[in-house]
Amino acid sequence: MLLAISGAITPVADFLVSPFLSVQQWMTVRYQAFQDFINSPTDLARLRQRNIELEAEVANLQSQVISLQQQVTEVELLSSLLDFARSQRENEYRAASVIFRDPRPFLKYIVIDVGSDDGVLAGMPVVSAEGLVGRVDAVSSNAARVQLITDTAANVNVIIQPSDTTAVLQGSITSDISLDLITKDANVSPGDLILTSGLGGNYPGNILVGQIASVRTSATALFQEAAVQPAVDFSRLDIVLVIIDFRPVDMEPLIPEEGTIE
């Protein structure tokens, strides 16, 4: 007892116990290896089953992630449209989803899922959060066809800021849009903003259309021309807003028939 308390017995105990511990460890390791070997078939089957379950769970979670990402994108888009509508309180809007695009590549039209039942009429302007998209070309009860401003037959009267110069925006067969009828003395340069002017009565004024990308001036031409970078990405149009309280002005009665003016 006194020896144990004083610590003199510890080296002796270590000397005696050490081989025993080594043998014990050797036996335990070998037994565990043997046990693993015996149990491995059932473990393998269990692990395979577990792996299948986890893979199914991962697939399920991945589909949930994709679904949530789509919802986030949609919410962001709707939020930006809401911001746009709030910033333009003078107009009344109707949101619409793009159903499909014109099957002919040179015709720039989209079909949206609102129609005359929703108060949409031909001629109403269509915008997105970024800017002007086009105008309603034809309407059925629950769908409408929209002519984009990139269509080759589209013409929009615009004003260039900050020079306050008026011009006509034209689409093309390749979806590029350009400005024509810019007077030669007008001081326009790349980066200038292009807004609808409201002239002609087809579109309300002050809707963003895009920016001037480059200006072409020829000594022999009567007007300057400019290439335009549109504000809207027309390849990613999913949801748009129809301005349903805008009525285009019918200019037909003001246009004189042939032979009436001498």
């Binding site: 499909f100 099957p103 015709l107 080759t152």
Partner: protein, 166 residues
Amino acid sequence: MAGIVIFVLLIFATLLQNSIVNQISMLYGSADLVLLVLLAWILQSEEKQYWLPGFFAGFLIGLSSALPVWLPMVEYVLVVAVVTFLQRRVWQVPIWLLLTSTILSSLLVYAVEFIYLIGTGVEFDLLTAFNLLLLPTIVLNLIFSLPIYGVMGEVGKLLYPEKVEA
């Protein structure tokens, strides 16, 4: 029964065309799936009346497009006429006939539509349209025509099994 299948296939092709195929573009051109299904049907079908499917294909495109409905109907009937003529009198090698028909049909459809656009006062550069729109469209149509021809061949085997057995 077999004659009705082409109408179902054309409706399905129109849905695919409007939702997916017209998004697959090369430069500014895109394939015309409805036209290709019609061509493959004409070249492999046992039916001899192709006019009605031609009218129907044009009608479907006319409904989906901003073009007047009658214009695609005229185009696709012209396509039927040209391909039937080629099939009966010129070549007997199916793949060669398919490729030739695809090129000629694409040219015909776009020629009619360009003439219509010019007639309605739309201004565009014909050379640009040819280089950036028509040529890529023909290339895409050629690429798509082979698998569609294969699929329509399988449909034909299902509809006319007696010919395969013979």
